[in-house]
Symmetry: C2
Subunit: 516 residues, 2 copies
């Protein structure tokens, strides 16, 4: 048994079941070890951003870390953008990054670089193994670090000789440390209860992280019923449950002008698994934080804490009644030849099956859908947590591997899809039940909006050219077909409904290009 | 005039003519400024690795830095793999990385990360501008740093308020520092001349960097004629001139076993623009450095020095005769239905036009071509300097932008092409004269070789699956067509010759999928 084999045995003993890999020479022992440890499913990505994004999607749905296998500094670098999103999502992920043999590092071979410097910005834990007999224990520490609340990205750098050197096969697997979320004590709960009673409808309860799961949303509605407070959700959540009669709450708006307006009446903000809202970008004359100075901030549960437990305790302290249930219906199916964002939203919300996992990287194309999906059957939405585009298709891969009994719907903007659309190939290879709804507006629309916000009302050739995807126009049907995924392009509501019906009912992946 | 406009004016005043961009919100002032500074050509990439690789290709062909525009930490991260190759190529590149406004950084907005930590491993110079009135001067410093011998990657991080804030328009552009390569003095030359005379045919002269240009190769042949020494070239050079009657020298072999064998007879190694050879990877029982301990190392010119000047002086000191010219002929055009690596190499070497720029990321598919191209007309070869795959198509973009009068031939492996094949779209948009020769063996062949080298003779399902690209098979004609590039698939020598003839004669990009 070599170090690599012992590492993977330890990972499997500690609950790891999936490995999203894009290996190179320095990772060959890890690849070979996957054939000795069959409890871990290897999934190949043809680009590292696919592997890391898939690990993010897997972790969001299971709460457990998947492994990635990445090739030295450049391989890690290619995966960093989606690790950035995973970091912001607090997703447990364990990266295994191969490096040159310990004795070969000083030679400064062509692929040598400072891997730790690359890893640190996107990782909560970084370590380089120095000896084969430490590799498995380092792997257990990486898993522990990834699982420590609120969850995070752990990066283990593996010099190749620590993988190929023999170790003691009889050594039992190193155990991981137990991870439990901290419980919020009664004094904090009582303070929040008193403050909510005092501020009444001028209070905002901001939900984030685990408070966005069904239990949290249901109890939050009771708190609202008891105190008249307003409930908001943090923008771009890692995972939020929706539909199926769950209460639905507005998000803090994206642009600072609207966020400031939305929070202006608030005199109290209670954070439950959330953090004090910040503007996504800074703009001249706009504040970094939309919360008014006069609005008191009260932390009830951090993202690390058990937010559901805290909400339950709060509802009890408030003697909160059951929340009123308002029946919300699905939108009507759109018909006819017009196809815009509202038809797209209605068609999807009307057709999505029970238990769908909606991976939302629609950017400007998803606005109508979100409101309409309130009436859809129970589903999860996974949002673009860190703003690093190219997340959607890889996260859909990971979510589909994690939940083979659920349909994954990737609601995907075209500009963002171009970053990591190698993920389509992995969907085809693994026969994943993914419906890709490719919103093709043939522009970086959000950048056209931002150019206008920057005062450029009539952009010149550079401003036009650098925000346009239409010259040449991208043929998504050809791209998907070229990677083994069935695809169809639609430009009427009727065709969209038909194409979605077929895709959602057909096992395996397919893509619907929605020409907007 | 704002900071961004002054920065681009300064860059243009200092010789910058191209900008490979993948911008986001924080770069909107830079985008707008490209409409005020028309001396800089903006080129959009649909993924950051395209932009950075293109800047590398542009810099290798012009010796001048192109700009990139990248979006905060994740945007830079997506471009790092090709910046790693640029760093190893000593290519001048100036990255402009947008960041949050200075006053917004502390808010830890979703896209915030430690950009300097990400930039440092792949950059020789990293700086964050703090005030608008310093931005243009920082840009000039970045250009100076990129041009300082031997050339390097400079990364300037630009908080958005330094770009949008007004500055004094009357301020003249900051000048860049002159960059000249150091001349090697007579004592060193005389020592080398004496040593070469002493060691005779047991001496190896290893050429790298600028010594691989035609002047260097021609003088090296004279040194060989005068002393009987062996001339070798460093592996994976940034740019080497070939064909057209130039002398051709073998490279140091890739695998350490062969490299060690090749260098075993040497008692002296003279470095001319090269560095002491190292093995690409470390293997059990193989040394990091193939040069035998008994072989004396003598540095004549570092990659920073003027290697051509040093070689000229050496030839003079040796009173070297003119080198014998050996006429080498083009290979015969292959015919028939068989299509393998030798037919591919012969067809390309037989048909490539005068002045072609061959971007070589063929990995295992290029071996036969390299030997046959010795007889082709004069051309440049740009190799995979840093081993970070996904370089080929982006570098081809940059080389074509740099040299619009020359045909670029991207000799490209399929596995590597998948990393950055968004570059095809940019080729189509900019109508670049690029012939992509896509070598489709539907495997990561080099990894299958490496698995065998690691002792895995009969890999299991993981070893097979993680090195196979054939399930599903990638349809390169559809992929290229989907991105606006004409494409054709061939599986006979006859069809290959026909397809290459058409592609090389047709303006704009086209792709030939060679099914191996």
């Amino acid at each position: 048994m070599n170090g690599a084999e012992q590492l993977l045995r330890t990972a499997a003993d500690n609950g790891v079941t999936a490995c999203f890999a894009n290996p190179g020479t320095t990772e060959m022992q890890l690849v070979a070890a996957l054939d000795t440890e069959r409890r871990i499913r290897p999934v190949l990505g043809l680009f590292e951003g696919v592997a890391t994004g898939a690990a993010d999607g897997f972790g969001r749905m299971t709460g457990l870390p998947a492994l990635t296998i990445l090739h030295l500094g450049p391989g890690l670098a290619n995966g960093l953008a989606n690790l950035h999103n995973a970091r912001r999502a607090h997703t447990p992920v364990v990266n295994l990054v191969g490096d040159h043999a310990t004795w070969h590092r000083d030679a400064d071979a062509p692929l040598t670089s400072d891997i730790e410097s690359l890893a640190r910005p996107m990782s909560t834990w970084v370590h380089t193994t120095e000896r084969a007999d430490q590799l498995a224990a380092d792997g257990a520490r990486a898993i522990s670090a990834a699982l420590a609340p609120p969850g995070g990205v752990a990066t283990l750098i593996i010099p190749q000789d620590t993988a190929w050197t023999d170790v003691d096969a009889a050594e039992p697997s190193a155990p991981i440390e137990p991870s439990t979320r901290a419980l919020v004590g009664p004094p904090v709960i009582d303070d929040v209860a008193a403050a909510l009673r005092e501020h009444g409808e001028r209070a905002v309860v901001l939900l984030g992280a685990s408070a966005l799961r069904s239990d949290g949303l249901l109890v939050a509605a009771r708190v609202q019923a008891a105190t008249g407070c307003r409930i908001l959700t943090q923008g771009m959540p890692a995972r939020v449950e929706r539909g199926g009669g769950l209460p639905s709450f507005a998000s803090v708006p994206y642009f600072p002008e609207q966020a400031t307006e939305a929070l202006a009446p608030a005199t109290l903000m209670v954070l439950v698994g959330a953090t004090d809202p910040v503007s996504f970008f800074g703009y001249p004359g706009q504040p970094s934080r939309p919360r008014p100075d006069s609005c008191q901030l009260l932390g009830m549960a951090t993202p690390e804490d058990d937010a559901i437990h805290a909400l339950d305790a709060l509802a009890t302290a408030l003697d909160a009644p059951a929340a009123p249930v308002s029946a919300v219906e699905r939108p009507q199916l759109p018909t006819g030849s017009t196809l815009g964002l509202s038809q797209l939203g209605a068609a999807l919300a009307a057709l999505q099956p029970e238990g769908a996992i909606v991976v939302d990287e629609a950017i400007t194309s998803g606005a109508a859908y979100a409101a309409m999906a309130v009436g859809a059957p129970s589903h999860d939405v996974l949002a673009l947590t860190g703003g690093a585009i190219g997340q959607g298709l890889p996260v859909a891969v990971g979510a589909a591997v994690a939940c083979p009994d659920r349909r994954v719907i990737a609601l995907q903007a075209d500009g963002s899809a171009m970053y990591t659309f190698q993920a389509l190939w992995t969907m085809a290879r693994e026969s994943l039940d993914v419906t890709v709804v490719l919103c093709a507006n043939r522009t970086y629309r959000i950048l056209q909006v931002e150019l206008m916000r920057a005062g450029v009302v009539e952009p010149g050739p550079a401003g036009v050219g650098l925000t346009d995807l239409g010259h040449p126009s991208i043929d998504w049907v050809q791209l998907a077909s070229g990677l083994g995924v069935m695809a169809r392009s639609v430009d009427t509501a009727d065709d969209l409904v038909d194409a979605l019906r077929v895709s959602l009912a057909t096992p395996g992946p397919s893509l619907v290009e929605v020409r907007l």
